[in-house]
């Protein structure tokens, strides 16, 4: 508008009249898009949308391919962040007030119980969906061709998910919090088991690294106010910050590594649900094709007149799918939270551990391993398992058949075989330990070194490694080894977790069901 001939006040009046359109224009950089080109341009230019490519491959939109696991995990995190913010309104991290604050949230605050349930269950559901997401990545061969490092970032996110859940669990300062803190602190101190063995063996004294770690974690020698302050700091600041940074890198790398994986040949026939753009009539562009990014962004690729194969505009195709997944996730979490309450035990009592004193369920597989050896179960075996997971994309470099579930018939067979063999191995090991005991029951005087070196957990890990190598030798394919390994991981995690959760009772004695536990 040419304002040069108007008075200042007239200009002001004009600006005032057009304030709505000028504000909306400034907000969305170009107003509400009405064409495919406009929408595509908005995806590129909008801060929240620019994480997406302007066009999405139809394979990415197939629910049967991704299962939506990564997206669900992300939305669960968003839900946990928001509900966590609400909980912070009432919570205070003091050993004298924390428990009462949580009780208030449960019984006094309007909607408090529901909010706490949503926070708790969305966090715990993250564990399930992050693990399933990870398994999906392996089964569809999606950790290759530049995606190796993003897989490593993913493992970091898995660890952060676990630690966020764990630290959250400690905040109510009830019996569960207190004894989980005791057990975790002592797992941190577990290298003492090793240093003790070697102390004096060669005339040297190793520093008690484990003990120092424990004291740093607790801010003392036993759980107390200092510990709660530290756990709170971790849970509400450091870990969320870390997970945001790593998640940002994770998403960024998905884009930079070329988007989600897809099979080399995708037939467009599988895209019935794709929303086609309205038929164009006239205009300077030919009507038989949609437009790729090259019309909008600078690039060196002379892609004129070649369509990006099997892609559709992200707006609306991808965004509708994302919103649907979000609504489904939120609805499921809220519904579950409506029916199932997050547990709250008695106020923390340092004199009486619960019997059995159990960690949260997602750690009960580890607790089963810890019941063989604190160091191996709490640090050694999980460390080795994570190292093995991280190594997968670096040890399997067969860049064929990306983006196909189980690669081929053989892959499916290997997955089923590993599932059965893994189940038999884990259940067999557990059955042996439950019925026969282990070294300490047979030879009470045995040196701890033997138990650290040879315990059921180690044997299971050794078996998995040997079996995976055998699969590689037999099939002549490292890819089959990866399928086998991740299947073992999943089977071990699920069965050990089930055992620790349901089958272990007071004094960590085996019971077929919690209803068989002695009443005392």
């Amino acid at each position: 508008m040419d304002n040069s001939n108007k008075t200042g006040l007239a200009q002001f009046a004009d600006n005032l009249k057009s304030v709505k359109s000028s504000f909306v224009g400034s907000f969305s950089r170009g107003g509400w898009p009405t064409s495919d080109k406009g929408r595509t341009s908005t995806v590129v230019n909008n801060f929240f949308l620019h994480l997406h490519t302007a066009k999405t491959h139809i394979n990415t939109l197939k629910p049967s391919y991704t299962l939506g696991m990564g997206l669900i995990s992300f939305f669960l995190l968003v839900i946990a962040f928001i509900s966590g913010g609400f909980l912070m309104v009432y919570y205070s991290p003091s050993t004298t007030t924390a428990f009462n604050a949580v009780k208030d949230i449960n019984f006094v605050v309007f909607g408090g119980q529901l909010m706490r349930n949503i926070h708790k269950w969305s966090g715990e559901a993250m564990i399930i969906f992050v693990i399933l997401h990870m398994v999906r990545i392996v089964y569809t061969n999606s950790y290759k061709q530049g995606r190796e490092f993003n897989w490593v970032i993913g493992i970091v996110l898995l660890i952060l998910t676990f630690v966020l859940n764990l630290t959250g669990y400690m905040l109510p300062w009830d019996q569960l919090s207190y004894w989980a803190l005791v057990i975790v602190a002592n797992i941190a101190a577990a290298p003492k088991e090793l240093t003790d063995i070697f102390n004096g063996m060669f005339g040297i004294t190793l520093p008690d690294i484990g003990g120092a770690t424990k004291e740093v974690l607790l801010g003392g020698t036993e759980p107390g106010q200092e510990s709660l302050t530290r756990v709170y700091l971790l849970h509400i600041l450091l870990l969320p910050l870390a997970i945001c940074v790593f998640l940002g890198v994770h998403f960024f790398r998905i884009r930079k590594d070329g988007g989600l994986t897809r099979p080399a040949n995708v037939s467009a026939g599988s895209g019935e649900s794709i929303i086609s753009p309205p038929e164009k009539k006239g205009g300077i562009f030919p009507t038989h094709k949609t437009y790729g990014l090259m019309e909008l962004s600078k690039g060196r690729t002379p892609a004129v007149d070649t369509d990006i194969e099997n892609t559709v505009t992200s707006w609306p195709n991808l965004f509708i799918a994302e919103i649907a997944v979000f609504m489904f996730t939120l609805a499921a979490v809220v519904a579950y939270s409506y029916f199932f309450d997050a547990p709250l035990k008695e106020y923390a009592n340092p004199m009486i551990p619960e019997n059995p004193a159990k960690a949260p369920w997602y750690f009960l597989g580890l607790q089963e391993l810890v019941s063989y050896s604190a160091f191996m179960g709490g640090q050694g075996l999980p460390g080795l398992a994570l190292a093995g997971l991280i190594a997968i994309p670096f040890l399997d470099r067969e860049n064929r058949d990306i983006g196909i579930w189980f690669t081929n018939k053989q892959g499916k067979a290997i997955a089923i075989e590993s599932f059965i063999v893994g189940s038999v191995a884990v259940i067999g090991t557990l059955a042996f330990v439950v019925t026969q005991g282990w070294f300490r029951e047979w030879w009470p005087e045995i040196h701890q070194l033997w138990i650290v070196a040879i315990n059921p957990g180690n044997l299971l890990l050794g078996f998995v490694m040997v079996y995976t190598l055998w699969v590689i030798k037999r099939t002549n394919s490292t890819r089959m080894g990866a399928i086998s390994l991740i299947t073992f991981f999943l089977v071990c995690y699920v069965i050990l977790t089930y055992t620790g959760t349901v089958l272990r009772g007071p004094n960590w004695v085996f019971y077929w069901s919690p209803s068989d536990w002695p009443i005392h």
């Binding site: 004894w179 005791v182 057990i183 602190a185 002592n186 797992i187 003492k192 088991e193 003790d196 120092a212 004291e215 740093v216 801010g219 003392g220 020698t221 036993e222 107390g224 106010q225 200092e226 340092p350 004199m351 009486i352 551990p353 619960e354 019997n355 059995p356 004193a357 607790q367 810890v370 019941s371 063989y372 050896s373 604190a374 160091f375 179960g377 709490g378 005991g437 300490r440 029951e441 009470p444 701890q448 138990i451 650290v452 007071p506 004094n507 960590w508 004695v509």
Partner: protein, 157 residues
């Protein structure tokens, strides 16, 4: 000066200064990290004293076993003397309870005999024994920060 100044071993002044700067930077980073880690290890623990009085020797008639619940210590009294055994399991820190064969841990099933030696379960070490001393007023004091070798028994007048 067109040529770089070299000493007799052939290290140029530029390389020397570069290495010195690089080394200083590494040193700075390492000491900052070490200092930051040291920062989070508290100098003072706001906890109850590890040493506490338990009254005079008359409180512990020969043949008795007493558990101080809030201190997690068992005090045994025998002909041979008094001794204090920790009730904290050496596996992962749960509290053991006395049973007929000795002590039983509820968390992961560790079992100890009457003098605290491991007889079952995952515990890596025997239960700790603590120092007992006599204060000037005649009362006994246990110091859970000071462990003594298994079998150390104390006789007090």
């Amino acid at each position: 000066m067109s040529e770089e100044t070299r000493d007799k071993d052939g290290v140029s002044r530029r390389d020397f200064l570069g290495l010195a700067a690089f080394g200083t930077a590494i040193l700075g980073v390492v000491s900052s990290v070490a200092g930051s880690l040291r920062y989070i290890k508290a100098n003072v623990y706001f906890e109850e004293s590890k040493k506490f009085k338990v009254g005079t020797v008359e409180n512990f008639p020969i043949g008795s076993v007493k558990k101080l619940d809030d201190k997690n210590v068992f005090i045994f009294s025998e002909e041979a003397g008094l001794f204090a055994i920790s009730a904290i399991c050496t596996h992962l820190g749960c509290i053991v309870s006395p049973v007929d064969f000795g002590f039983q841990c509820p968390c992961h099933g560790s079992q100890f005999n009457h003098i605290g030696n491991v007889i079952g379960g995952p515990a890596p070490r025997a239960l700790e024994w603590f120092e007992i001393s006599q204060e000037i007023d005649g009362s006994l004091a246990i110091d859970t920060a000071k462990t003594v070798s298994q079998g150390t028994k104390y006789l007090f007048a």
